[in-house]
Symmetry: C2
Subunit: 320 residues, 2 copies
Amino acid sequence: MHTVEQYIDIINKALENITYPAEPSGLYAPVKYQLDMGGKRVRPLLALMACDMFGGNINNVISPALGLEIFHNFTLLHDDVMDNADIRRGRATVHKAWSENTAILSGDAMQIIATQKIAETPVEVLKEVLDLYNTTALEICEGQQYDMEFEERDDVSVEGYIEMIRLKTAVLIGCALKTGAIVAHATSAQADAIYKFGVNIGLAFQLQDDYLDVYGDPAKFGKKIGGDILNNKKTYMLISALTIAQGKEKERLQTLISREIDSPEAKIAEVTSIYTSLGIDKMAKDKIEEYSLKALQYLEDIPNSDELKKFAHSLTTRQL
Amino acid sequence: MHTVEQYIDIINKALENITYPAEPSGLYAPVKYQLDMGGKRVRPLLALMACDMFGGNINNVISPALGLEIFHNFTLLHDDVMDNADIRRGRATVHKAWSENTAILSGDAMQIIATQKIAETPVEVLKEVLDLYNTTALEICEGQQYDMEFEERDDVSVEGYIEMIRLKTAVLIGCALKTGAIVAHATSAQADAIYKFGVNIGLAFQLQDDYLDVYGDPAKFGKKIGGDILNNKKTYMLISALTIAQGKEKERLQTLISREIDSPEAKIAEVTSIYTSLGIDKMAKDKIEEYSLKALQYLEDIPNSDELKKFAHSLTTRQL
């Protein structure tokens, strides 16, 4: 087993060592730019860790792990076009730095480059890893579709929201872990268990993201606090609040999310205060704990899982 | 061996038999719409034909053949967004019928569905077929990038144009034939030869498209005659004309492609007349003949190629 830092170092070096054709630079420069933005490299890290846990050779999982990271970054690139987002990790998004057409086409190329990396999986497990990858990739598109539809709807349930984030975020965490397990020739029961662990940790991870947008420490959290509130983003926080609020408090919340903003600070403060009076902070924390505990049950028969448990705990209790 | 009609019937039935999840319908309805638009099904047809020629079981190549057709239709979908095209095969394009975001995301999903079909290739040749597919898919993105860049440039050479259409159009024709050969366990020399045949036929096919836009019979040609001229599209015709025109004729052509259009009919008539006086029609026909003859050389050691020769001839001399 390696440390988290060692895995990340291996991944970043391997990402840097990918060579792209020099031409057409208008296609490949945005791909490199998107991958150079950094990020936590959570997905490839989990693939390496799982492979290691099951006694596999981590060199065999580096390529598919990179494939998952490149696919993830492709989804961020196209999501930024669809959401018309200007900034990602402190830098201009590809469609702002170049153009929308460049963002569409470079994203398409990234999806193919991701599949090329998946194709480098040891051939005896290629079919299994490729099928898992394709299924997961399509689920992520489904999740993005629901996410966009939810922004136009005002009847989204908490269950509907959980299903959306399962598709958009959680299945790729499960897929990364299962990919490591498959490459290490774990049993299919073990591969399925670690997948389910990953999906539940993925749900907790996304809910922690929703929580931090409201209750995060501005000094630690990477993004600006209250971004979701200003965008009226239908997170777990807002959907839960709209579900349980009553009478005047509900009316006020609906007014706040439907009218033009006078003062961003005042809106964030008032919505946060409604959340707190409804106990949404506590509900979110409980939900995160529920999925974290559920996840851990799937690790009962999994060997060498201490490092993974520690890392998963850090993900779901993170402050940044 | 089967007839062309039989192959197309097999492909269309197999395409219809693909089942998509019912939800989210906002994601899958545009995918079905795009695939229902029809088209000549040239790529999967060639995959089946090649497999048959080399004595393979065509049932084994149906899935990867569909993958290539779905990938091709995905590129049309995203190209229509990038080109802001309203109409495709007489119907509203996906981004017009739905929205741009829907077109981006449904296209992404199609690319994954295409890869799922490739993943159904018999496992003993999966790695080889998948690698060919990924290489080709990335080349097609490169071709689209050059195509977009060329529209902003006024120094495109005939050689540069040929390289662009090789990437954007011809390699997929070669890939389809080679996929059929690989699935049929042809020798690698045979697979490479039929690939090169396909690339040269693909070049001739695209040049015929450029030719027909100017000199096609309006009663037969599917698209409106002169569309490329009105859009100042840098086809083989325009690039060749700009290369060989001299003096006042060159000035007049440059004026025609740079200024606002008064009368579309007059512009088409005048540009066509310049092309004809420069002998561009003859040059195009010679070039098509050159690539067709070059293609045929690669079939010398290939068995059962009569049907393929006939079909290739029909593609490169087609009037519609």
